[in-house]
Amino acid sequence: MKIIKPALAGTLESSDAQVSVEPSTDGLEVSIESSVMNQYGRQIKATVMETLGRLDVTSGRITVIDKGALDGTLKARVECAVMRSESTSEAGIPWGGAIR
């Protein structure tokens, strides 16, 4: 998948994460802020990178503002932001493929 236009998913509520994506020509640039940075920063980054990898996103500026979201929430927010960015239709969501 490609990040084509700026898109946003998620909220700044407690236990959620807000993920925004923007196109970029300089490869993948990921920045993470988190209310649980000291204890979970590395795990959050690993989850975000793994999700982007699974979606085959290789370039874009990704900003995650995490408010203590669990892994499942993080994955869903990243997937949603990427798909909004390329205006994926419901039928186009790769259920069972990259999304599982």
Binding site: V36, M37, Y40, Q43
Partner: protein, 519 residues
């Protein structure tokens, strides 16, 4: 040196007789020489002790560089006096190298954070640290590490002369012109003056700050004129509506109500739940809600409570009004209902923090407690509790009477959700030990109940009552299963705060957190 809760205490702190924590009753039977104030005689009869300003009073009391001043925080987030006084001492008088000795430091004392940042306030001794003050202390901005003491540890340290107060500035709801002062009887009442009473007896000088001047004698006085140098009248001493903040609320959250119901079941399953039992609860949502469920068990058994202790809310006052509670022994009022109640009910009494919880007197009320129900930020596999540092290692909490009631009571119950957001409440090892595990008996979470293996008797009680329970390891695994295993915090060497056990030994230290860089 490693202490009894497995924490490494730096040798440089173990000077002047300071020892590491060695168990909850280690100091039993030892003698203490009590400190005494250097008190100025007021022989010549005067018309009053009124001073026009806080500055005039501070000058009369010899305010000077390097001194220690104290205040109480009965107004919690609505306190005005501590900020007013700090501003006068630091900005108007230009004093430096000041130490604050407070019952707590929170958002209402935010201005003190600025003075710490500027290096004007160099020491802080307190029973709680929240908000911006916690951040500056955690950033290592104090010249000396902050000293965190429990509500019982504070009067112990004052009596032992480990903290000597030069001037106590005490907010009082009403005072007569000579300084007989109370927490009620004025326009901004806060109820019990328990946090401030002892300061007046041990400080070299005491200034009463009030907004309601009444005719002498203002009795029964919580602060007595014989201990007071000056009286200052200001517009408002505080905002009582801000006493009851989100920490002191009655919950309608079903998860918290379920935990509260389980706490009440545990209490009812023990042999201590008998006519004349004694009880204290904290003001966290689930702890406070226990009152509601306990009532049903009391009515069912036809028993009453001999006394309720400590911080007081309307919930316990209502139980007293229904004849279910003999006495309320009150150090602090958490809402308007309790503030009104203390001045109207003859068996709702004000007590000071030494009577409440001091482990170095001849027996504080906590020693008579059957049950205490408390909250926690974290509990570890040894049942050690942290209520002072967040999962980011920053100071943001208050031991208050937690360690005192836990140590004194026959059955200490911690009630807390298993996770808060992505934070695991039950963990391998707490960030900071504020209450040692040998004082904690039962842990009630939304995923299950665990009993400290040291208390086989309580395990048997739960089994007989058919209350299911699990091991604390099971709860830890469940928590980590939900949120992931946290990475350990990384610290610098600098100690920013010393956590004293209630007996004055060192329980733990808080170091400066290393800035986190995500590679």
């Amino acid at each position: 040196m490693l202490n009894a809760v497995g924490r490494e205490i730096p040798a440089e702190l173990l000077v002047d007789g300071k020892e590491v924590y060695q168990g909850k009753f280690y100091m039993d039977g030892k003698y203490v020489k009590k400190d005494s104030p250097r008190s100025r005689r007021a022989v010549t009869p005067v018309a009053d002790k009124l001073c026009a300003t806080i500055r005039e009073a501070a000058e009369k009391c010899g305010a000077h560089d390097g001194m220690t001043f104290s205040f109480h925080t009965e107004f919690r987030d609505g306190d005005y006096v501590s900020g007013m006084v700090a501003k006068v001492l630091i900005e108007e008088m230009g004093l430096k190298d000041i130490t604050v000795a407070a019952t707590s430091l929170g958002t209402a004392q935010g201005i003190i954070a600025q003075y710490i940042e500027q290096g004007r306030i160099v020491g802080a001794q307190t029973s709680g640290v929240r908000g911006p003050i916690g951040e500056v202390i955690s950033a290592g901005k104090l010249a000396t590490p902050a000293i965190i003491r429990s509500h019982g540890g504070r009067p112990r340290a004052i009596e032992a002369g480990e903290v000597h107060i030069d001037i106590a500035f005490l907010a009082c709801a009403s005072s007569d012109p000579f300084g007989n002062a109370r927490g009620v009887g004025g326009k901004n009442n806060f109820g019990s003056m328990g946090f401030g009473m002892q300061d007046a007896q041990y400080a070299d000088h005491t200034v009463v700050v009030t907004d309601t001047l009444v005719e002498a004698p203002n009795v029964p006085a919580s602060i007595r004129a014989i201990d007071v140098d000056c009286v200052v009248v200001v517009d408002d001493i505080g905002d009582a509506t801000r006493i009851s903040t989100k920490e002191a609320r009655m919950t309608d959250n079903p998860r918290e109500l379920m935990m509260a119901e389980n706490v009440a079941r545990v209490i009812a399953a023990t042999p201590y739940f008998a006519d004349g039992f004694t009880f204290q609860t904290g003001v966290g949502g689930p702890s406070l809600a226990v009152n509601r469920f306990l009532e049903d068990h009391m009515v069912e058994r036809g028993i009453t409570m001999r006394f309720a202790l400590g911080g007081t809310s309307s919930a316990i006052c209502r139980l007293q009004d229904r004849g279910l509670v003999g006495h309320i022994l009150d150090t602090q009022d958490f809402d308007q209902g309790a503030i009104d109640h203390i001045s109207t009910h003859p068996d709702h009494h004000e007590i000071d923090l030494s009577e409440y919880a001091n482990p170095a007197n001849k027996g504080a009320y906590v020693n008579q407690l059957d049950f205490v129900v408390l909250a926690a930020l974290e509990v570890d596999l040894h049942f050690n509790v942290n209520v002072i540092t967040g999962s980011d290692g920053i100071l943001r909490g208050a031991p208050g009477g937690h360690p005192d009631t836990a140590a004194g009571s026959k059955c200490c119950i911690i009630v807390t959700p298993l996770t808060r957001g992505r934070m695991a409440t039950v963990c391998d090892s707490v960030v900071t030990v504020t209450t040692p595990g040998d004082c904690v008996d039962v842990l009630v979470t939304d995923y299950g109940i665990a009993v400290n293996p040291l208390r086989q008797d309580l395990i048997d009680c739960l089994d007989r009552a058919g209350i299911p329970h699990v091991t604390i390891e099971w709860l830890r695994d469940k928590a980590y299963g939900l949120v992931g295993t946290p990475d350990p915090l990384e610290w610098e060497d600098q100690v920013v705060a010393v956590v004293e056990a209630r007996d004055g030994t060192i329980l733990d230290v808080v170091r400066k957190i290393k800035p986190f860089v995500l590679s």
